[in-house]
Amino acid sequence: MTEEEFGELLEFVRAAVRSQGRADLDELLVGSRRIDAVMPQGQLLAYLEGLRDEIALRADRTTRQMMLRLREIRTENDDPILGVTVDIMDEDVAVYGARSIDISGSPELDSVVSDLNELIAQLRESGDQ
């Protein structure tokens, strides 16, 4: 792929992210130091890596690794820790529509992260050709 095509692909993926209601994520990825590469290929790869990291936060693999770390810690009753939750404070309930959110990863997103990693690797190689 040419640098021009990498630039077109970056605009394509940015538009796709924004069209999913994630303009906040697009702005964050573009505004951060991630996207300080000069050439379009580097900018595209940095953007996709940031997108992958965001998706990975909701993946099952991440939750599993956190629970592995917590396995060595016990409660006062010497029981294992059962999970991680986010308590929604009174002032936020109307926004989120819930009192508590269980942080559990999605197995479907494990494969999304895997697919994205594979694509990133291929795009990196494509620039070398």
């Binding site: 692909l9 994630r22 130091r33 936060l57 308590d87 697919d115």
Partner: protein, 222 residues
């Protein structure tokens, strides 16, 4: 086989469709945005606890529940909330709290003033001496950790420097309560350790400048 532009677009569309299918509705997206930040906070929390356990020799116990409970908004310490207790031979006990506000150095310099919103700031992960209540004073903070997921922007560095200013004065390096991790000394009095974690590799570019004032900028990815 070389990847073509149409192929790459197709694969990106497929990947984002799968992501959207899991993320769901606009309210789910809002929740998803908040949850991603909280997952990263939980990720860093488990890292910090693991390091304190394995590198510093603390015995770590979850007190007040059987689940780790993060909060959607910060506030004072609520002792009915689940938190972690740290114990080490012949050392005073410590506690690890999340999403807690501390009272600033500037507020302590204006003793007697009614606290306003500029007199306390949130820290995502806070280590204080066992038994702390309400909003701990700046001189009670032993370790403060901020967690920034996805994109690290320069204003986040400026905010961290402001929090550092409200925790301590700049001094010659002084011993912390820790043997080696995260730091044995810090150029601050009181000698609290303050670190900013991000999964954006760009965060490391701020570390050299941050270290002058005792702020560590650390890249920690999943």
């Amino acid at each position: 086989m070389a990847l073509s532009l149409p192929d790459a677009k197709d694969r990106i569309s497929t990947i984002l469709s799968a992501y959207k299918a899991v993320s769901g509705t606009s309210r789910d997206l809002l929740t998803s945005t908040m949850t991603s930040g909280k997952v990263y906070e939980a990720w860093v929390l488990t890292h910090v606890l693991e390091m304190l356990r394995t590198q510093e020799g603390y015995d770590v116990t979850l007190v007040g529940g059987d689940k780790v409970r993060l909060k959607s908004s910060p506030g004072p310490i609520n002792r009915s909330y689940a938190h972690f207790r740290l114990r080490r031979d012949n050392s005073p006990g410590l506690e690890v709290w999340t999403d807690v506000e501390f009272m600033t150095l500037s507020s302590s310099l204006r003793s007697g003033a009614v606290p306003g919103p500029g007199d306390y700031h949130e820290i995502d992960i806070l280590v204080v001496a066992e038994g702390a209540t309400s909003r701990p004073g700046h001189d009670q903070v032993l370790l403060g950790v901020e967690c920034k997921n996805t994109g690290f922007e320069k204003d986040m560095m400026r905010a961290a420097l402001g929090v550092r200013r409200e925790l301590s004065f700049l001094t010659e390096p002084a011993p912390t309560i820790f043997h080696s991790w995260p730091r044995s000394t810090v150029p601050a009095y009181p000698s609290s350790v303050y670190a900013v974690y991000s999964n954006d590799p760009g965060v490391a570019k701020y570390d050299e400048a941050g270290k002058v004032f005792g702020v560590d900028f650390i890249y920690e990815t999943m």
